[in-house]
Symmetry: C2
Subunit: 190 residues, 2 copies
């Protein structure tokens, strides 16, 4: 039996994206965003929703570029910090002793220490209520060399990403491999 809990913003899993951008003086900023995900296969695009009051909003509108930096679980405190404070008056990366690196292909910084990052050029902005959705075309993905599998692809089990749970406001790690996609469902084929 199902119980109504009202129109809440809850899905599982919810990601922990750290959005990297430069202000007009080339100062790097990062902010934590949970409202986003891949939104198109071709061109490859990722969406992230940001409110107009954020410094990141102004930065991306001006620079037309951003990065999505995915933390591993060992950076859970840093990832949480980037969502607790505004970059308008402080340098969040410096506070946490992490390093901004300028992308070689577009005008946005990424976090050197994080295991996997997406370099995105701004393709669209869509207005949805209090959030603006930024659609970034993924121009490249960069992965730490020790986080790839034998065939050279990113390896989720080495990356150890963080999952956000909006209901109890907790972070979780990735659990066990439970099934092979595009395969497990074949048992129902007639």
């Amino acid at each position: 039996m199902k119980k109504s809990v009202g129109p809440q913003t809850i899905v599982y899993p919810t990601p922990v994206f750290i959005v990297g951008s430069y202000d007009p003086n080339n100062n790097p900023n990062v902010m934590t965003a949970a409202w986003g995900g891949i939104c198109c296969s071709d061109p490859p695009c990722v969406s992230v929703s940001i409110r107009k009051l954020r410094k990141t909003y102004d930065n991306i509108i001006a620079s037309r570029a951003f990065t999505i930096n995915i933390p591993s679980e060992k950076f859970v405190n840093e990832a949480d910090y980037y969502g607790l404070v505004s970059g308008k008056n402080i340098d969040k990366l410096s506070d946490t002793n992490l390093t901004a690196v300028k992308s070689e292909i577009l005008n946005a910084p990424y976090i050197k220490e994080f295991p996997i990052i997406l370099e995105c050029s701004l393709l669209h902005t869509f207005e949805i209520g209090i959030h603006t959705q930024f659609i970034g075309e993924i121009k490249d993905v960069k992965v730490e060399e020790n986080c790839v599998s034998e065939n050279g692809d990113p390896d989720i089990e080495k990356i150890k990403p963080i999952i956000f749970s909006p209901d109890n406001r907790m972070y979780y790690s990735i659990g066990n491999n439970i099934a092979k996609a595009f395969n497990a469902g074949k048992i129902f084929k007639k």
Copy 2:
């Protein structure tokens, strides 16, 4: 040191959403979608990207409503099946012995056996390359009574959602609770 792997559609975590819709004859259909997430806090909205060749695309355009059904890990085979086959010629729910229930508040079916479902009315469609992004306003969330915590909220540890990993095309379970959000980062505050 980071290695370039090209413009791939990879983020962690990626969700496993089962999109429920009715065709014009009120036949329920479900399909698996991994490109989506919450996209606005107010009004509460969820996005899901669907290609025009899908039956679900036509259904939502006509009905202006859909559900997002989140499977628990025990339904991983069913969730995978709904992405393997088209609902144009078969009844996927019947093949898997699961049950479509008509929403009481809008014109879309949800899956009775799944632990948590979102009932959405179509607010916008945004064109992004080969995918169309459907923005659904969340009108209600319904949770199985045995998947709520003591305070009545949805409980991720009872829901046991599935995580999709786009790199190795595997499904994972949720792991351990590692930190409290909006709290863990306070150690860096000055």
